[in-house]
């Protein structure tokens, strides 16, 4: 048993290594950090530029294979190299990861849970007003790109602030400077963080709700007329109870597969959110790094993203196993 799990993990590890290497090589070939010096006035002498680039393992005059070797050796020791500014990538990576996770997780959790509930509810009320409203809403939301949604919410929040005559909603950055040192101390700091988190959370939650409710509705419609729901009713359960206890529980299983898919969706959404709300997370960093030709940062973020996608895949497999006894006991051939 453990051997099979190991083989699976090994396959994932190979995929992650291949993906990260590919990303590194691509970035190393395509990006041009040297051009950053072009618009420096005065342009530093060539030798200085070379020395600086070599120190960062970014010198395009070093053979690609050598650069890759240096980088890979570092990565094997858990060191992703240095950023353009010369700071270690690792430290910044973890800091930025923290920011991104803080930004996305409330919206993701809230959105998927609400989405599943709304989808199931819409399916139960199929064809009625509630269903039409939810279906139409999710349709419309799915058609609104995250960056448009974020800006729309900001406009609404600005109008609200104006109307109330106070600065209730905030949407730039993670905190307001000095909030934690106000009259309410740490509590004020927390409230300030919550205030800044509100709009990004709503943005992410809305996209997640649109996605999950749509799929959960479809899955729930599948079991609405399932034989086992009918059996549960034949035992004496009320229609709605039968649907919740037997239908929803079963309809959740295929959702685990969507979970892995939606992860990529979420990460990209987060990237746009960081951009729109001015959070200094991974997404913003990646955009900067690509513009600046910061190969080490790009490779590190790619590695993390690849691991994230694979971890989501693994998590969805495990979740599937937890929810579905047919997988757990391994009897489904």
């Amino acid at each position: 048993m453990a051997a099979f799990l190991l083989r699976r993990l090994a396959n994932y590890a190979v995929l992650a290594v291949a993906a990260t290497s590919l990303a590194y090589l691509l970035a190393a070939v395509a990006l041009d950090p040297r051009s950053n010096f072009d618009d420096r006035a005065p342009r530093p002498p060539e030798s200085v530029v070379d020395a600086r680039l070599t120190r960062l393992n970014l010198n395009d005059r070093t053979a690609l294979a050598v650069r890759y070797g240096t980088w890979a050796a570092g990565v094997l020791h858990g060191d992703f190299g240095r950023t353009w500014e010369g700071r270690p990538v690792n430290a910044e990576l973890w800091r930025r990861l923290g920011v991104s996770v803080r930004l996305m997780s409330p919206g993701a959790v809230l959105g998927s849970a609400l989405g599943i509930l709304l989808g199931a509810y819409a399916a139960i009320r199929q064809g009625r007003a509630a269903d039409r409203f939810i279906t139409f809403g999710s349709y419309l939301l799915l058609a609104v790109p995250v960056f448009v949604l974020a800006v729309l919410l900001q406009i609404v929040a600005a109008k609200a602030n104006d109307a109330m005559g106070m600065h209730l909603f905030a949407w730039v950055g993670e905190t307001s400077p000095g909030a934690a040192y106000g009259p309410f101390g740490a509590l004020g700091g927390l409230a300030d963080r919550a205030r800044h988190l509100f709009l990004p959370t709503v943005t992410i939650a809305m996209t997640q709700i649109a996605f999950y409710s749509r799929y959960q509705r479809g899955l729930m419609l599948d079991v609405l007329h399932a034989d086992f729901v009918r059996t549960a009713r034949a035992k004496g359960l009320r229609h709605r109870t039968a649907l919740l206890r037997h239908g929803l529980r079963t309809a959740l299983i295929p959702m685990t597969t969507y979970f892995a898919y939606s992860f990529g969706f979420l990460v990209l959404g987060g990237m746009f959110c960081e951009q729109a709300f001015g959070w200094h997370g991974m997404g913003e960093w990646l955009v900067e790094a690509v513009s600046r030709g910061d190969v080490n940062v790009v490779a590190a973020i790619s590695c993390l993203a690849a691991c994230g996608v694979l971890a989501a895949g693994l998590a969805s497999d495990v979740l599937h196993g937890v929810l579905d006894p047919r997988v757990r006991s391994g009897a489904a051939a």
Partner: protein, 681 residues
């Protein structure tokens, strides 16, 4: 005491097509009413209407009274207090009817808790009791298993346990044994019988199988196009059916007990989906004794015999003699051919093996073992002869057929078609040989490309071989299989099941093959349609001299069409021989058990039969028992002394002739065959 009274029950789906029209009946305590009908007759809608589980767009009128309490028109909340407590239901497909994610014990316990308010531990204890009652070995342990860990028969036992959890007043069972093999069906019917005795419930048994009703029901109600066309005591209706449709159903059944000569009578056409509005008797278009008065309005049931035997027919004078309505056709004379031994061999199979790896688990896919799907079988088929491969699901009969069809080198053993060893064929030769070997599949709904017209489907074999279909050949083929020229332009979904199967047969015959492989060709069809397709196959064989390899699970069908029969169990042929010998004097205990388990559509014969039901389920196909594979279920092995039993445990029996008679070719793979005493007679 009459417990369940149904009066004038009508079910109408949204567009206004009535699925059930004015049906009424009574069922008393401990009484079983068998409701019989073909697909589309409205019998399932009737069942769901009684328990109030029809989809919301259905409209129900009339009355269903349980112990005097009216059920029609009650709210879901009120009905849910009655359902599962006083009125229980057993559904057809026990795999989809049980929630896949909850342990079966909990599912039964839930039924207990809903109505009694028992605590979970108490309800679970009761669930184990119930599982024990329906004969699930190791009930306490198995209660924690999920539905997919049970076999079909065991799942149906779970369903029955759930139904009787609260000692119901009445049980409605909708096709409870349809998805099961005959030997398992017999077991489940026994459980249902025991359940009836334990609860004293009134049972409504809905089925298409007249044999099941004959053995199990006290009264019968025949449904056609949503109406009850005939009802009465089982024996009376089977002996003196008076409604032409009932007569047709009974006459169209292949019977194993009957003398071999008579063939079942085909009833033309399919059950109409919706009866013509205000058009009188719905059976009129297919009825041989229809008169003008049939066209007026739906005929009312009239008393035609004792004990409330009624038939809804205006022309009951004409139906006193069933044979006059649907005469049993005479046996088609088989053209004189040289004796079997002198005819050329069309197909020769020797030591054929097909094993395939079994993987388990979706998360952690691993090889769990090898399924010995076909494990060394041998037989031959000669010109103009039909060999039937019979056995229960999973015995390897279809795998064997597919292996032959591949015309490639088998894993082990050899297949020779028309004298050519398939292992040695070059691709061009193999393609040429395909002209002589054709196939008809089981499911006429999936074996025809939905995007092709009938004419193109029938002409495809020509195109596949780079030929042009000769002019008029498609018409000729349509005619040959009893279809109209107008059918050529239709798509498969515009045809009935029987018509589709005829198209499949026409396609197979297009290139005039010499060997036709038939994989359960009538299993998906209603009985009255089956008879017509069987007639067609029989006639074609006699006229064209084609050899058939006929794979089937239905022993009655096989009895009718086959010359020789091979009985398979777990990848092996356990018995092979001429139909008369194998059916008349089965040598292998498994053959005996199979024949015993087939319910006979005759109440008197069926109830007189003494049968030893097979125990248990099929063993794990990856780990067959050592020695004889049938040992674990064999009633004969169970009765053997230690010395004789050891042979079964240690030696895998090989097929050997059962008789020294030169004319006999009955072989069986058994150390202690049943009929050996009679050898040489």
């Amino acid at each position: 005491m009459t417990l369940l009274v149904v009066r004038d029950l009508t079910v109408r789906y949204a567009p206004g097509v009535p699925a059930v029209r004015g049906v009424g009946f009574d069922v008393g305590a401990g009484e079983v009413l068998g409701v019989v009908g073909e697909s589309g007759s409205g019998k399932t809608a009737l069942a769901l209407a009684m328990v109030g589980l029809l989809p919301p767009d259905a409209r129900v009128t009339g009355s269903v009274r349980l112990r005097g309490e009216e059920l029609v028109g009650r709210s879901d909340a009120e009905l849910s207090r009655i359902r599962g407590r006083d009125l229980a239901m057993v559904f057809q497909d026990p795999l989809s009817a049980l929630t896949p994610v909850h342990p079966v014990g909990d599912q039964i316990a839930e039924a207990v808790r809903i109505h009694s308010g028992a605590t979970w531990p108490a309800a679970r204890a009761r669930a184990v009791e119930l599982l024990d009652l329906v004969g699930i070995p190791g009930a306490a342990r198995r209660a924690r298993a999920c539905p997919h860990e049970f076999s079909g028969g065991m799942r149906q036992r779970v369903m029955i346990a759930m139904a009787i959890a609260n000692d119901p007043v009445a049980i409605v069972a909708d096709e409870p044994t349809t998805a099961l093999d005959v030997t398992v069906q017999a077991q489940v019917l026994d459980v249902l019988k025991a359940a009836k005795e334990a609860t004293g419930a009134a049972i409504v048994l809905i089925t298409h199988d007249l044999g099941v009703v004959a053995g199990f029901a006290d009264r019968i109600m025949v449904m056609h196009a949503g109406r009850a066309v005939e009802s009465g005591p089982v024996e009376e209706v089977y002996r003196r059916p008076r409604m032409p449709y009932t007569i047709g159903l009974l006459q169209s059944l292949p019977r194993m007990g009957a003398a071999g000569a008579a063939r079942p009578a085909p009833v033309d056409g399919a059950s109409p989906e919706a009866p013509a509005a205000g058009g009188g008797c719905a059976f009129r278009p297919r009825c041989p004794v229809a008169v003008d008065a049939c066209g007026g309005r739906d005929p009312e049931p009239v008393l035609v015999g004792p004990s409330g035997h009624t038939a809804a027919c205006v022309n009951t004078e004409a139906t006193a003699d069933p044979d006059a309505v649907f005469p049993l056709p005479d046996a088609v004379p088989r053209p004189a051919r040289p004796p079997r031994r002198e005819r050329p061999v069309v197909l020769e199979v020797d030591g054929l093996v097909r094993h395939h790896p079994l993987y388990r688990g979706t998360l952690l896919r691993r090889r769990a073992g090898t399924v010995h799907a076909v494990d060394g079988i041998g037989f031959d088929v000669r010109e103009a002869e039909t060999l039937a491969l019979v056995g229960e699901s999973g015995c390897g009969k279809t795998t064997a057929l597919m292996e032959i069809l591949r015309l490639a080198r088998p894993q082990r053993g050899s297949v020779a078609v028309l004298g050519q060893d398939t292992a040695a064929l070059r691709p061009a030769r193999r393609k040429a040989l395909r002209r002589d070997v054709q196939v008809v599949f089981q499911d006429p709904f999936t074996s025809l490309d939905p995007r092709m017209r009938v004419a193109d489907i029938i002409a495809e074999p020509f195109a596949a071989h780079g030929l042009r279909a000769p002019r008029g050949r498609v018409r000729e083929l349509l005619d040959l299989v009893g279809l109209e020229p107008a059918h050529a332009g239709r798509y498969p979904h515009g045809l009935s099941g029987g018509q589709r199967q005829r198209v499949g047969i026409a396609r197979a015959l297009a290139l005039e093959p010499r060997l036709l492989l038939l994989d359960e060709p009538v299993a998906a069809l209603d009985v009255s349609v089956q008879a017509g397709v069987m007639d067609l196959l029989e006639g074609l064989r006699n006229r064209l001299g084609i050899a058939y390899l006929f794979v089937a699970h239905d022993l009655a069908v096989v009895h009718r069409i086959a010359d020789r029969v091979a009985v398979m169990y777990m990848g092996r042929i356990v018995e092979i021989g001429s139909v008369d010998e194998v059916y008349g004097r089965p040598a292998h205990p498994y053959t005996r058990a199979l024949l015993d388990a087939v319910p006979l559509p005759d109440p008197r014969l069926e109830r007189r039969r003494r049968r030893v039901p097979l125990r248990g389920d099929l063993p794990d196909p990856t780990a067959p028992p050592a020695g004889c594979r049938f040992r674990s279920r064999c009633p004969r092995y169970a009765a053997l002394g230690a010395v004789d039993a050891r042979r079964c445990e240690e030696h895998d029996p090989m097929p050997r002739p059962m008789s020294t008679d030169r004319e006999s070719d009955q072989w069986a793979a058994c150390h202690h065959p049943l009929a050996e005493a009679g050898a040489g007679s």
